[in-house]
């Protein structure tokens, strides 16, 4: 397969770029990438649905990721999620109507010592409690 697959390693990078540009992976990008890298659309779809980093629907401006790994879970991660859902009035995996926030969970971020962990747009918030949720949201609600 050597000859054919020389460029196949670029797939993840291209998906990342697309995700960054649009906030999700639009259908037309899949066919574009398919033509470029000579990989079938179904295969690309298989890859992008495997990773949580890619979304098929537009995400909000701010992506909130809550860790549900074992350590965060036992320290109250579930409650953080519930609080976020209440505050944003959406379920996990969804985006607020004003397209400002998308709420997602992740299985482990690898920084168990500082859990429960919430990540917003790549910025890590450690030792989160229900009380701190409001402050985090405020930070982004005000910024445009």
């Amino acid at each position: 397969m050597s000859g054919l697959n020389k460029d196949h390693g670029k797939l993840i990078h291209m998906l990342h770029d697309t995700q960054k540009k649009f906030g999700y992976i639009p259908a037309h990008s899949i066919s574009q990438i398919s033509g470029e890298l000579k990989i079938s659309e179904s295969e690309i779809f298989g890859v992008l649905t495997f990773y949580k980093a890619f979304a098929l629907e537009p995400r909000g401006r701010h992506l909130i990721t809550i860790c549900m790994g074992t350590a965060c879970h036992v320290r109250g991660g579930v409650q953080i999620v519930e609080e976020m859902e209440r505050k944003l009035n959406i379920k996990v995996g969804k985006t607020t109507a004003n397209r400002k926030f998308t709420l997602e969970t992740v299985n482990c971020l690898g920084c168990c010592a500082i859990g429960p962990v919430v990540v917003v747009n790549g910025k890590y918030y450690s030792n989160i409690t229900i009380k701190k949720v409001d402050a985090i949201l405020k930070e982004y609600q005000e910024s445009e």
Partner: protein, 854 residues
């Protein structure tokens, strides 16, 4: 190296997996995801073994043998682990029937059928017990599943042609995903989503029709469960008989296994032992065989015209009638047309019958524009003797491939698999075609050529080559000087505009072609169907000499080569196919014996028309007698495939109704007309006589053929290599104000005798309909044409109807349509072509206009 499996010493050579070696030595190791045609996967973990001095329990399917390995396959620990693993698999697969304690009795009396969940029971699984999962459950003796059972309740996908997909039964072994990617190159399905949501699916869960599926059925054949099942046999039960034969639907000659129940064909599957196809088939061989043989359009009784109406008669009556009539029309006033889809024996007899009984030299078959005939003619004209034989397997070894004039992913899918192997090994594929191929992502370069301008493309490439070559030091081939001279004289100044290909693309093509040691040039009808086809082939021949490439002429019909070889040595004084139709319309010809597809004969002016065919067709309205011929499945004989291999095909069922094999009909007629040379009891008598008489069969031994060997026919292999000086007169296609479109005729192979496959099978129709008129996106937008809309296309001599098929890759101003001789007269492109009835015959492009239909 020596390894030990279960205490048995085994000698092994090469890189083999433990599972492969064990299988070969009949040591059973349960497995579900492994398949001999696919690369090791290690997904199901059932094939785990214990290996001395290796940690854990490695899966035998992906562990390669090493010298001195000591392997145990059946320890109690292994069996326990396997049962555990299998229970986990079963927890997501309906298993009530699999583990029911009354399973055995239930099979016979259905005693417990109501006690298990109906929807989830084996009784209602369409695989009817042909289930590898079930086999493994039995060998591992599972009688309970301790995990909670999960039914995923996914929608069963029933919207695609030919097979249903019920992923509730899927065990995620990945065989379908791998066969689609590794072997077929389509990658229409893939694992999508993750973890407990993982499922086999397509992009955005689109139907297979929209995700690049070729409907070859390879996934259905490798599925170990009932997830993927052929719809046509869902409720038919198990076959009671199985036979092997050769597929007659293209020139590759795949060996098929035919499943039968009460003398009816249930399904056809590729045979692993097939010399050419090795366990693979295509949509036609896999799904259409039973539709062809059991078509409602079959004619099952002889008919003769009595008082202007066709009436059923006995064979005696029909044969006497035809024999009597034919006696009156002997000699030049009679002609016979045969199908290139009948066996060698039958074609041989038709020829013999024409010359001995009809006393005519007017015998032909529709092979005249095939790459074989044009290639051979070109060689003869130039004093060369070229071989037509090749081996499909050689294609996979090429480093550069040049494909011109055929979409082989549709017309020759098994050859496409060899191309794919080459490409996956690093070879570069260059494609020259007007329309993008269905799996174009495998080509390194696509030259979008205006049909009919191939000569310019090839000559220009030759010129680029010569410029480069002067620097290199190649052995000189005879005729180079005069070839160079002829190239110099050729005006190629507007080649880019003419062909529609840019200078950069041409340069890239020449570099790819020059930079290789092992090139293969594949060419089809698109190159040869023009009236200047032989000059196109000469140009390709020169280019192939320059690139030191092997040429592969790709014929269409299954026995084209056989028909060609048998007809090769007969005199060519008689009328050819076009001249026959021309003479028929002018009234010169009085009687026509039609044993092959012909255009609608409305313009013909005949006194006697006899049709020997298997299917009802348009020309019946002019016939004086119709003799019902059986299909390939109801007789035996030999076909020569595109490579030049003589293969014996077997009788699968008895002839339907009163249909009789072609050889029987011809023999009976000849005998009735007083000929004593037709006393054949069975086709093998004819084979023996044919081997004696036809020169290219002189190396064939009947005994070997009988044993099922596939023998290459003999060929003069004096391979003289010399350039051919190019001759050319300006003759590319021109449109006019009145007829602003050029329509290219695609010699579609979607027919069997006079049956149009896409009209017979709804499934094939959804994939590619012979009534599609391909329109470019630009033209469709300009004319506001919608997909599927009824339109008509008109040329100066007629019109035909069809449905709009928008093809994005087609250039503006070009239309495309299938050329099928046997199509319904309203939809038949042949109605457009005056030249079918004319001497100067050009079947490349036609100037036409589009008309809206109500």
């Amino acid at each position: 190296m020596i390894i030990i499996i279960d205490g048995k010493k085994i000698e092994v050579e090469g890189k083999r997996t433990v599972l492969e070696v064990a299988r070969e030595k009949d040591i059973f190791i349960p497995s579900l995801c492994d398949h001999p045609q696919l690369t090791p996967f290690g997904g199901c973990r059932l094939c785990i073994v214990e290996i001395k001095e290796k940690r854990g329990y490695p899966p035998s399917c992906s562990t390669y043998v090493e010298n001195g390995m000591e392997i145990k396959t059946k320890t109690p620990r292994l069996q326990e682990l396997r049962r555990e693993i299998l229970e986990l698999i079963l927890s997501e697969h309906p298993n009530a029937c699999l583990i029911c304690s009354e399973k055995e009795n239930c099979d016979e009396y259905k005693s417990t059928i109501r006690k298990v969940g109906e929807v989830t029971g084996c009784v209602l699984c369409s695989n009817n017990g042909r289930c590898e999962l079930q086999d493994v459950v039995e060998t591992l003796k599972i009688d309970k599943v301790k995990f909670p059972s999960v039914y995923r309740d996914l929608d069963v996908k029933k919207g695609d042609p030919f097979f249903d997909r019920d992923y509730n039964l899927c065990i995620l072994c990945g065989r379908c995903v791998r066969v689609c990617q590794e072997v077929r190159g389509a990658s229409a399905v893939s694992f999508v989503y993750r973890g407990s949501e993982a499922v086999v699916g397509t992009v955005f869960d689109l139907p297979l029709l929209e995700s690049g599926c070729q409907f070859c059925g390879a996934c259905v054949d490798v599925c170990p469960t009932g997830s993927l099942t052929e719809r046509g046999i869902r409720y038919e039960g198990l076959p009671d008989e199985r036979a092997k034969t050769i597929c007659p639907l293209c020139s590759i000659g795949c060996e098929l296994k035919i499943d039968l129940k009460r003398q009816k064909i249930l399904s056809s599957k590729p045979s692993d032992e097939g010399a050419v196809n090795e366990g693979q088939a295509c949509v036609k061989g896999r799904f259409l065989i039973k539709d062809v043989v059991h078509s409602p359009r079959r004619i099952l009784k002889p008919l003769i015209r009595v008082n202007k109406k066709l009436e059923e008669v006995s064979w005696e009556g029909a044969l006497d009638f035809v024999a009597q009539k034919l006696k009156k029309f002997k000699g030049k006033k009679t002609a016979l047309i045969a199908s290139p889809q009948v066996s060698c024996e039958e074609y041989f007899l038709l020829h013999k019958f024409a010359s001995e009984e009809l006393k005519t030299e007017n015998v032909d078959s529709s092979y005249r524009f095939s790459p074989l005939a044009v290639f051979d003619k070109m060689a003869k004209e130039n004093g060369l003797e070229l071989g037509l034989n090749f081996e499909i397997k050689d294609i996979s070894r090429a480093k550069t491939l040049f494909l011109i004039g055929e979409d082989i992913s549709k017309s020759h899918p098994i050859i496409w698999l060899e191309v794919l192997k080459a490409v996956k090994g690093g070879a570069k594929l260059i494609v020259a075609s007007p329309e993008e191929l269905s799996l174009s992502r495998y080509s390194a370069l696509w030259l979008q050529i205006k049909p009919g301008t191939e000569f310019y493309l090839l000559s220009f490439l030759s010129k680029l080559f010569l410029q480069k070559e002067q620097e290199a030091d190649h052995p000189r081939i005879e005729g180079l000087d005069s070839f160079e001279d002829s190239l110099d004289k050729l005006d190629l100044s507007n080649v880019f505009e003419m062909t529609g290909i840019t200078r950069e693309e041409l340069k890239e093509a020449s570099e790819l072609l020059l930079d290789t040691e092992n090139a293969a040039f594949l060419f089809g009808m698109g190159l040869t169907q023009h009236s200047w086809g032989s000059r196109n082939v000469a140009a390709l021949w020169n280019l192939a000499l320059q690139a030191q490439a092997q040429l592969f002429p790709l014929g269409l019909e299954n026995n084209l080569r056989g028909v060609f070889e048998i007809g090769r040595n007969s005199s060519d004084k008689g009328l050819n196919l076009n001249q026959i139709f021309q003479a028929a319309s002018s009234g010169e010809l009085k009687a026509l014996y039609l044993a092959g597809p012909a255009p609608y004969l409305k313009k013909a002016n005949l006194e006697l028309l006899v049709i020997q065919d298997s299917f009802v067709n348009e020309n019946f309205e002019f016939a004086d007698a119709v003799l019902p011929a059986s299909t390939f499945a109801e007789t035996e004989g030999t076909f020569i495939n595109g490579e030049g291999r003589l293969q014996k095909f077997n009788k699968v069922i008895d002839p339907l109704g009163e249909a009789k094999p072609d050889w029987w009909i011809i023999s009976q007629l000849a005998r009735r007309m007083g000929n004593k040379g037709f006393h054949f009891k069975n086709p093998s008598d004819i084979t023996k006589e044919m081997i004696k008489i036809v020169p290219s069969f002189s190396n064939i031994s009947y005994a070997e053929l009988e044993k099922g060997q596939k023998i290459f026919i003999q060929e003069e292999t004096k391979k003289e290599r010399s350039f051919i000086p190019l001759k050319y007169s300006d003759s590319h296609y021109k449109k006019s104000k009145e007829y602003p479109f050029l329509m290219f005729l695609d010699y579609s192979l979607d027919y069997y005798r006079s049956l149009s496959l896409s009209q017979e099978s709804r499934g094939l129709k959804a994939i590619r309909d012979s009534r599609w008129i391909k329109v470019s996106l630009e033209d469709a937008e300009e004319l506001n044409l919608k997909e599927g809309e009824n339109i008509a296309v008109e040329s100066s001599s007629g019109k035909f109807k069809g449905f709009v098929k928008i093809v994005k890759s087609l250039p503006k101003g070009i239309l495309g349509a299938s050329f099928l001789l046997s199509e319904d007269s309203d939809f038949s492109v042949s109605g457009l072509i005056p030249s079918v009835f004319q001497e100067s015959h050009s079947l490349g492009m036609l100037p036409v206009k589009i008309k809206r239909e109500k």
